[in-house]
Subunit: 444 residues, 2 copies
């Protein structure tokens, strides 16, 4: 396709993610008209080769493709329907509207209904949240989870392809809402693991371990995780740069827990993480990088690094690994059980999550076993290799040690109690159980 | 019995509780020899008519009755067995040893074994933790939960009677450890309700309710509780007087969660409370009155009281009530399920708890239904009156509102997730379920 043949794009919401996505499209030769409420951003966007508009209506008028990448459902509602110059009034007949913001499934389904109600059933809505961070946004290599009608997906696909990595564009069956649900279950993993990074390294600090050593050792072990790999270094560099504010993951956690409430699904791991995020808001930490949550674990701690012999170091490191692996196991089960509840394709969820920010060694290895369990394929009563009781034992050693150190382990304690619930409901606890058995807490 | 005929008593540990108990015995005409590591206390005790000793051995030598009321198991171990002049060496043949401290079941059982091992199986140990606070200690009207051999209970009974209210001396079947288990399951209620008071009133403050109005209204409703009645006023008087420090309930929560770990029982409600207690330690709040935990909910909050019309006030008050009642329901279930796990007499547990610091309207009404459920008597499938779903709905309204207010509700969120777990495992969620169904999360 010649450059001149590329369609014009309206782009609403030029924040950290949106700016990267929009400028990437500019670089690919699209004429992009951007809108944002923050004027300096518009100036930057013009400098990057984009056009700008002063209202949502002006941005979308006459354009066949509209991408909305605002921060929240409330903002999406506002730019589309509210104010003096909402986008709705100016949307072209049959326009593609790609909502890339992370919003509750309920919101995007409601948006579809609103369009119909207002006589704009012609708009080809795509529910297409993204994942991957600002760098991948600017490179056009995001993960994208897209749901919608066949017609809408067909028309919008080239744009989704421009913005995503070839192997990371997921067309999610189930229509409008399915993309958002896919993102949501991924964010269960993200919300739990962001806090787990602080909990694990905060615990390491109380144990007197050197954090650099701990970080390297964990990432080279079966307790490794994508989030730990990203937040860990920011903890080591005093929570700089501010790459992802606490309020961002709080918002995503809120989507998970409010959707869970709505459909009557239990999310104890995400709920625990959310409460800690909320407690940081009262402290005035909301705009800080989420790696700074370690402060909630280390305050009042005086000595940070002890002189330890190799044997002590190895034992203490094992405690941190046991903590993280117990948390990740429960996070994995909560995420996949919620995916099942949302009737998502579990293989697709797995494929998405192992390659995205929610991934970890534990998710990678135990995920397939949990999916088998949900499908009734789990006929082995004996655990192959590591059992649920093994995970419990290691986690509980960490929890008991934290109790001695008088420090909180919010997620570790929650995970430990969930595993005990699973074991309490198992007739013969003495037999080693597969780790996947934990998922029975959520779904029978 | 003439005054002169009363036996001499050794009393080890003259803290807030022990001092009151020991001076009460002095007033009843006993010759009491006290020991404590804190010299000013000994001076006060002499001024109150007691005798004092400078070592544990000196206190117990030649005396047939020894009461130990130190703060922790570690302190009990120390005064009995460690140091230069431990009590053990000087204990009379066949002496009564009443351990009134709150300690883990495992500790007091281990103490019994240690005595046998050291050739002192003759000592008549009674496992007799108390409840009721310093005022009742000084009045001789404590609740006491006593376990031990028939012979030990027979010999020590008059002393237990002196220290307790007539109707509040519970002889707990099951030998050494049973008294401590009884106290422990009561403390599940206490640990959850101490934090719930701060959570409820902290939520009220975010809602713009006047705390005095809220306190009165709650205590005159079906959301009332003994702890709320005691901690509430101290919240209103700026956490004064310091009647019970955070470290005290933290210690008791630690006994619960470590015993739960040991026996493989899940205590998510107590575990959640414990993490919040632990977080306050890092903040330097440990020695403050436990009513001051409200600070963990209200920090960063600017306006405290809004002008509300009666309708708004009633609606907001209902949210606080819904929160507390949901928390109390789950606390009740956790406590009774743990009691069942410890093979305690559930009728006795119930009788103890309704008359003690752990009591509440919710415990009083739902407790018998849960006990019936555990005994397989629950044959009604329809809820009489309020259903579990009703409790869930009201609790979830509170949780959703707190989410909007961006404040944490640690216990409320935990309770909400536990109720949803219970409902997820119920084949037909649409039918109203008895509130007692929540207990199925812990025990099937």
């Amino acid at each position: 396709m010649a450059v001149s043949a590329k369609p014009e794009i309206a782009f609403i919401g030029l924040g950290a993610m949106g700016f990267g996505m929009a400028t990437h499209l500019v670089k690919q030769g699209y004429a992009v008209t951007g809108f944002d409420v923050w004027p300096p951003t518009l100036e930057r966007f013009r400098a990057a080769g984009g056009n700008t508009a002063s209202t949502p209506a002006e941005a979308v008028r006459g354009r066949d493709y509209v991408i909305c990448m605002v921060a929240t459902a409330a903002q999406a509602q506002s730019v589309l329907f509210e104010g003096e110059h909402p986008a709705l009034a100016a949307l072209s007949e049959g326009a593609s509207l790609l909502l890339c913001s992370t919003v509750p499934c309920a919101y995007v389904q409601n948006l579809e209904a609103q369009l119909v109600e207002k006589g704009r059933g012609d708009v080809l809505l795509v529910d297409s949240p993204v994942s991957g961070g600002a760098t991948r946004a600017a490179d056009g290599t995001l993960s994208i989870m897209a749901g919608g009608s066949d017609k809408a997906l067909e028309k919008g696909r080239f744009l989704l392809q421009e913005l995503s990595d070839t192997s990371k564009l997921y067309i999610v069956a189930g229509g409008i809402g399915a993309g958002s649900n896919m993102k949501m279950v991924h964010q269960v993993l993200a919300a739990v693991k962001i806090l787990a990074t602080s909990e694990g390294l905060g615990f390491a600090q109380h144990l007197g371990l050197d954090l650099g050593y701990t970080y390297e050792s964990i990432q080279n072990s079966n307790a490794s995780a994508w989030m730990f790999g990203h937040r860990g270094p920011r903890i080591l560099s005093e929570f700089k740069p501010i790459a992802s504010a606490i309020i961002i993951i709080l918002k995503d956690a809120g989507i998970i827990t409010s959707e869970a409430l709505r459909v009557g699904f239990s999310t104890p791991m995400t709920g625990t993480a959310e409460q800690v995020y909320l407690s940081s808001i009262g402290r005035g930490y909301g705009a800080d990088d989420d790696s700074s949550l370690i402060r909630l674990y280390t305050e009042g701690l005086k000595d940070s690094v002890s002189v330890l012999n190799e044997d002590d170091k190895a034992k203490k490191l094992a405690l941190v690994q046991g903590l993280l692996r117990g948390i990740y196991l429960c996070g994995t089960a909560e995420s996949l059980a919620f995916a099942k509840r949302c009737q998502l394709d579990l293989d697709q969820v797995y494929d998405l999550c192992i390659n995205a920010a929610g991934g970890s060694k534990v998710f990678e290895t135990v995920g397939p076993e949990i999916i088998d369990l949900f499908r009734g394929k789990q006929t082995v009563t004996e655990a192959k290799g590591e059992s649920l009781q093994d995970v419990a034992t290691q986690l509980q050693e960490a929890v008991a040690e934290a109790q001695r150190l008088k420090m909180p382990l919010y997620l570790g304690t929650e995970a430990s109690n969930l595993i005990r619930l699973a074991l309490q409901h198992t007739p013969d606890q003495a037999e080693p159980l597969p780790r996947a058995t934990i998922a029975k807490v959520w779904a029978v």
